[in-house]
């Protein structure tokens, strides 16, 4: 049964969260990411790794703001609204893990911008918001895919791949909510 079809938002949220239980927790990912860096000491960090994490953090902070815009738009109806808030929560966890890891590596984490440029004038319906979010999630999957091979530290690559998996699920679920084929191809690029 799709949680989009269930009559109770509470049940839908429980179903969704229950099915998300197999994902690594933010703390687990942080542990994965930070273990080697802590052992090696901050001075040993690859500056490129720190930059990759900071670019990812910038995108995560923007995604958080985008979901906030969607949640406050009054265009999202339950259970889709709950879904957006849940996905925003994931992005918050990603951002938290990334920022902490950057600091562990001796870098300076970027902070959220005071304002973001979103196409507010184009968001007139729930479908518009979902389509906008889906586009960001799809781009995020590609961005992480393009970042994973660049890491010098394989633990960090693994942590980034874990986030990639989560964002790919977001994209698929958003497509499903839009009535589109949730997984349009066997490979991502």
């Amino acid at each position: 049964m799709s949680f989009f079809l269930t009559s109770s938002p509470f049940i839908a949220r429980r179903l969704f969260l229950g099915r998300s239980g197999f994902m690594l927790s933010g703390a687990a990912v942080a542990l994965l990411a930070g273990k080697e860096a802590l052992a090696a000491g901050a001075g040993a960090a690859d500056p490129r790794d720190v930059q990759i994490l900071n670019t990812a953090l910038g995108a995560e902070l923007e995604a958080i703001a985008a979901y906030q815009l969607g949640a406050e738009s009054k265009l999202l109806q339950k259970p889709v609204l709950d879904l957006a808030v849940t996905f925003q929560g994931h992005h918050k966890e990603h951002a938290d893990v990334l920022a902490k890891t950057i600091e562990k590596l001796g870098g300076k984490a970027v902070v959220a911008k005071a304002t973001y440029n979103f196409p507010v004038e184009q968001l007139k319906s729930q479908a518009d918001v979902l389509r906008f979010a889906a586009k960001l999630e799809q781009g995020a999957v590609s961005a992480y895919l393009g970042a994973v091979p660049l890491f010098g530290n394989r633990d960090l690559a693994k942590a980034a791949a874990s986030i990639l998996g989560d964002e790919a699920m977001h994209w698929a679920v958003l497509r499903q909510a839009l009535g589109e084929v949730p997984v349009p191809s066997a490979f991502m690029a």
Partner: protein
């Protein structure tokens, strides 16, 4: 919201100019551009700078966008050739760039992306870009 119609016309025009087998496909380029949209948009700056007005622009020159020193000092002018090289391996061409992306390895995909970015520059969406607004203010 779809730009498919104008893109088909643009792609058709490109097909006339270049032999059919090798013609960059702006329509395919639009689909490929989805990969860029975690960080970029056409008309507004996001994690990365906007892409409207890209061709002929000096790298690192969008006002108020915070670039890496590496990009700001690169002296690259964006054109087909430089964009193709950058998209293939961004960090090889500009070490220290914040565009920490492995690149688009497929040459045809890069050509399609470039065709799309060129085409879209003449569409209403890019009329909203900061450069276009600035140009509109000039006498």
């Amino acid at each position: 919201m779809s730009r498919v119609g104008p893109l088909i016309a643009g792609a058709a025009a490109l097909c006339v100019a270049v032999s059919a087998g090798a013609a960059p496909d702006a329509l395919r380029g639009e689909q490929l551009y989805a990969r860029c949209q975690a960080c970029h948009a056409l008309a507004v700056d996001r994690v990365g700078p906007h892409h409207c007005g890209l061709f002929g622009r000096l790298a690192g020159s969008v006002p108020e966008f915070s670039y890496s020193p590496a990009m700001k000092n690169s002296k690259i002018v964006w054109n087909d050739k430089t964009l193709d090289r950058f998209l293939a391996q961004p960090l090889k061409m500009v070490p220290g760039s914040t565009m920490t992306y492995d690149g688009v390895q497929d040459a045809k995909e890069r050509a399609d992306l470039i065709a799309y970015l060129k085409h879209v520059n003449d569409t209403p969406e890019c009329a909203k870009a900061p450069e276009k607004k600035a140009w509109a203010k000039k006498p």
